[in-house]
């Protein structure tokens, strides 16, 4: 019981610290200003986040990190989601989970931004690919690298392990596509770019990134819903506050249920990752949470647009920013459909179910 209280306290502290960058009641001016810019986030803010130890939150203390749990990391990501924070914490933390100590210092301090590049086709959550490190040179192609335009280096998954390649390495070309949230995806072409082999397997780190993304989505939908509730309580039509219309009330109630289910799913998955080392159980928990968050995130933010009426369709009104963010994240690190299929595949049914 005392341990549980300590845990609760630790989660509260993490959430509070997030307010420094993403206050729950803050406006979204900074977020709007960064949209569709290059690299789409603010390196000064990134350094502040790094000073608070966030990229290394999950890195063990002997490697210079904070050694906190997945639950803490998810609580933090949820808060960042509520603030639509664009700085690439989830990918960098994934890289930090994988990098050996000698590469970690500048990453944890925020000086060097290393982004993982693991994906070679759309709609996959599978690390298998054809990219190779041969004689110290990388050959291959990676897609959908998040916030790639701000990367100093990429941690590339290759056959048999990983490779670290500098962004300005010869033989590396990077093509940038803007994303709906104002950020970007990179397409990385590797034609003999010199890189350093890194031992390890990205699977667990990828799972954590997927779960952290679910937590981030939870924050996004939570804030979008809060904003929409405020609108329902103030907007008048036909001489009444529109939130007094029963049809809208019931829809709001259904969105609240989606939120509650997502929170239950994400938080219990985080607790599972913190307590179980059984691969199938861990994977099932992650897939379950990402499936729920991806679907519920779309349902909630889409309905927030509808409940906001015409103004919800303007770019000027903030609620659209939340929808666009979920549009970027719902299919990243695996879509709902993909994670449902993975859940079914990895999680054997027991009689207890």
């Amino acid at each position: 019981m005392e341990a549980a209280e300590d845990r609760g306290e630790s989660l509260r502290m993490i959430r509070d610290s997030a307010a420094a960058v993403a206050p729950r009641e803050g406006d979204l001016k900074r977020i709007r200003a960064l949209r569709f810019t290059d690299p789409g986030f603010d390196r000064t803010v990134w350094r502040e986040m790094s000073e608070m130890g966030w990229p290394g939150l999950r890195v063990s203390e002997d490697k210079g990190g904070s050694g906190l749990g997945v639950s803490e990391f998810c609580a933090l990501c949820e808060e960042l989601g509520a603030g639509l924070v664009p700085e690439p914490l989830i990918p960098v933390a994934m890289a930090a989970n994988l990098l050996p100590a000698e590469h970690l210092t500048p990453v944890l301090s925020g000086e060097r931004i290393v982004i993982p590049a693991w994906q070679e086709r759309a709609s996959t959550f599978d690390l298998a690919g054809t990219t190779e490190l041969r004689g110290g040179k990388l050959h291959g192609k990676k897609l959908f690298v998040p916030m790639a335009s701000g990367a100093d280096a990429f941690l590339v998954t290759v056959k048999g392990g990983l490779a670290l390649v500098a962004r300005d390495a010869p033989g590396l070309s990077l093509e940038i596509d803007r994303t709906q949230d104002g950020g970007n995806f990179g397409t990385l072409r590797l034609d003999g770019a010199p890189a350093e082999a890194i031992a390890g397997d990205a699977e667990q780190a990828l799972d954590e990134a997927a779960l952290a993304t679910s937590a981030y989505i939870l924050g996004v939908m939570d804030r979008a819903f809060a904003m929409t509730l405020d609108y329902l309580k103030t907007r008048q039509q036909f001489g009444r506050v529109i939130g007094s219309f029963q049809a809208l009330q019931h829809r709001a109630a259904d969105l609240k249920i989606q939120l509650a289910l997502t929170r239950a799913s994400v938080e219990s998955a985080a607790a599972t990752l913190d307590s179980s080392s059984v691969p199938a159980i861990r994977r099932a928990a992650v897939s379950r949470a990402k499936a729920r968050a991806s679907d519920a995130g779309m349902i909630v933010t889409r309905q927030c647009i509808q409940l906001s009426g015409g103004i919800g369709y303007t770019d000027e009104y903030d609620v659209g920013l939340f929808l666009r963010k979920v549009m970027v994240l719902s299919n990243l690190y695996g879509s709902a459909a993909l994670h449902r299929a993975r859940f079914a595949a990895v999680s054997p049914e027991t009689d207890d179910e």
Partner: protein, 386 residues
């Protein structure tokens, strides 16, 4: 006959207690009654009821001084979990979960002495007289009235959905005793023997052709004033408080889990197991159930910590009951023409898609319809106006 007093199980650690319960159930519960598809009648569950009474396990939540087990919240949850896991049927438990707690809190010393031992012994089986045909989800608009005539109340009116009234020898009743007052304020709580002259009971046949519920009619039924619980006209608050426990119970994943396990069997029987479209929907339901369990656990933890449940627990009821229905929707789709059948398929009561589908219908209606639950969520949780 008088019931046994159980030892204080709170002294066991949780795992030990779980093992004790598991063993007792496995050794004593009639195997043919596991996971019954319908609510059992007294004639069917009496044996098990009496086993619980003999063991002193009938009333886990009652204080030990009144013959209960006096279990902590955590231990009660464990007991329920183990019962549900084994598929133990609900008994005729209105005396246990409603009348007992009511009298312990609001009854007179005399009422406690008179009624509690007979619940513990199985001599008195109670049913609940709340709902009325014209009230529905608006319970407080009830019209059955009790007029004081000397030392007796004279009751006239009609109750409906009185669960297992034909099995009961007592009924606890909400009646209107002041017609002038605002609707919640003229209601009183009465205890009435079912063999009183003027009471008649008519079973309601439900869509699934079961007779669990009854209509109960009161024609100048007389009961002594001593059968009033609490103050006159103050019955509503007590009645609402008694329903409080329902709020998490209605959200328990038990029904959905039961329906889901039957869906699994049916899918095997119908040979659709490898159909990708079925698999996709099946997994979606499975995840809906898994997340329901996680959300339920959240509320169970609140109860365990001894905290009060807020109105947000209505979320559980909505999701649970609608999931239950969605599971049965898929069942009747894959059952093909068997969905038409009145009886279980091939005489196997575990393959009864139509029956289960029909049983799932009232889940979104009773215990406060899901429309009411959504009103509660909108107003009391989201603070929406009006």
């Amino acid at each position: 006959m008088s019931a046994a007093i159980a030892p204080d199980y709170n002294e066991l650690d949780d795992d030990e207690f779980r093992a004790v319960v598991r063993r007792f159930v496995a050794e004593n519960y009639p195997p043919e009654l596991r996971y019954p598809p319908k609510r059992l009648h007294w004639a069917e569950n009496k044996v098990w009821y009496m086993k619980l009474a003999e063991k002193g396990w009938l009333c886990p939540g009652w204080p030990r001084e009144f013959g209960g087990m006096g279990l902590s919240s955590i231990k009660q949850v464990i007991l329920t979990e183990e019962f549900e896991r084994y598929g133990v049927a609900r008994t005729n438990d209105h005396g246990i979960v409603m009348v007992g707690p009511l009298l312990i809190e609001h009854g007179t010393e005399e009422q406690r002495r008179r009624f509690l031992p007979k619940i513990l012994s199985g001599e008195n089986i109670w049913c609940q007289g709340y709902s009325e045909p014209n009230a529905g989800s608006d319970l407080a608009s009830l019209r059955t009235e009790a007029v004081l005539d000397g030392d007796e109340y004279v009751i006239n009116g009609q109750k409906t959905w009185t669960t297992l009234a034909m099995d009961a020898n007592w009924i606890f009743l909400l009646v209107r005793t002041d017609k002038q007052a605002k609707k919640q304020e003229g209601i009183s709580f009465l205890l009435v023997p079912m063999d009183s002259p003027g009471i008649s009971v008519k079973p309601i046949i439900t869509l699934d052709m079961h007779d669990e519920f009854c209509e109960t009619f009161f024609d100048n039924v007389r009961v002594p004033k001593a059968n009033l619980v609490g103050q006159p006209n103050k019955g509503w608050t007590m009645a609402k408080a008694l329903l409080g426990h329902e709020r998490i119970y209605l959200g328990s994943p038990k029904l959905s889990g039961y329906a889901f396990s039957r869906l699994k069997l049916l899918a095997e029987r119908m040979g659709v197991w490898d159909d990708p479209v079925f698999q996709s929907r099946y997994t979606q339901l499975r995840l809906d159930l898994t997340d329901l369990r996680a959300l339920y656990q959240h509320y169970v933890d609140i109860v365990r910590r001894g905290e009060t449940l807020g109105p947000d627990v209505s979320m559980l009821k909505v999701w649970q009951t609608e999931l239950f229905q969605r599971i049965t929707d898929l069942s009747i789709e894959i059952a093909g023409e068997n969905t038409a059948l009145l009886e279980p398929m091939e005489g196997n009561r575990e393959l009864n898609p139509a029956g289960l589908y029909l049983q799932a219908r009232p889940a979104t209606i009773y215990g406060g319809s899901n429309e009411i639950q959504r009103n509660i969520l909108a107003k009391n949780v989201l603070a929406l106006p009006g």
